[in-house]
Symmetry: C2
Subunit: 184 residues, 2 copies
């Protein structure tokens, strides 16, 4: 964990600490040690602990939604079907392995339940997933994309949570198709 | 927090501590103080910390699914429609206020991602929600209840998570109808 700028290393260390030991374990001292930066560097980049938690959450979600947007666009020219998009989502969000870092956003959403200063960031994150979903659904010609998107985002989040909690892979692709393709 | 048996008081205190300060804050000392029991009482009822976390999670989910089952049955004779059931779910899971105790199950699902000894309990919890959902869907005459139930459970969990994280009420009822009533 030494590549990248100090700020990037700090944010990666924050996600790692949260995923491993929970939000309560995030202290300047611990993060500085894990990121191999000075304590002064932490307080320079992040005046408050909330700043650090917020930027770690936004950083994770921005990276994930950007990656998914890029993937979706690379498929668009090849004529993506709803089934393709569902399978793609499954591959990206359902099968990445369950590293500590992947637990961190869930921890941060719950932390936002306790700390109102994190709620705007959480709202921005869900809005980013909504936006990504609308973009993909529009490209697929699914009607009413903006109405269905938040339901779809919630379903995927819920299946990810069940996957995390139980260790049992969830059929994300089938759930997406159930939501998008009218029953016969 | 003094009503109930020592065991009940301990489990309530565990959920309260988790909801307020996270799983890491659950120590025998803290729980004993909050539940107003002796340290010996804690170790008598719960030989390990994992036992305590597991029973707290199972206790919460059993109470919630029992309450929902009772409600659904009390409505059954009056001729429950899908829309009624959706509104009922919204009222029960979406609008109870966001006490510390309601954050606790989410924390415990994430903890199960770290601690394999909790995964069976998490699996049992999701199975209980599936079972409840199948019971309600069957009573409503919804076809394919056991196929659609896990998707519905995930959607509700995801919307609850978004509600927790953003503080913005989610339209759980509309999402359920979207899943159950074929698009025109």
């Amino acid at each position: 964990m030494t590549a990248g700028t100090a700020r990037e290393r700090i944010l990666r260390a924050v996600l790692q600490v949260i995923g491993t030991d929970g939000v309560a374990a995030v202290t300047n001292r611990r993060v500085a040690a894990d990121a191999r930066v000075s304590l002064g560097s932490i307080t320079y980049h992040f005046p408050t602990r909330t700043d650090m938690l917020r930027d770690a959450l936004l950083g994770f979600v921005t990276a994930e939604t950007t990656r998914l947007t890029d993937l979706a666009e690379s498929y668009r020219d090849r004529g993506l079907s709803v089934a393709d998009a569902a399978a793609l989502t499954e591959r990206v969000v359902g099968d990445l392995g369950w590293s500590a870092e992947r637990l961190a956003p869930f921890e941060l959403y719950i932390q936002a339940g306790r700390d109102p200063a994190l709620r705007q960031a959480a709202d921005d994150c869900f809005a980013a997933y909504d936006h990504l979903t609308v973009t993909i659904l529009d490209a697929l010609g699914v009607p009413d994309a903006s109405t269905v998107a938040p339901t779809l985002v919630a379903t995927v989040a819920g299946l990810q949570l069940r996957r995390v909690a139980t260790g049992v892979p969830q059929d994300i692709s089938a759930a997406i198709l159930r939501l998008l393709v009218p029953a016969p």
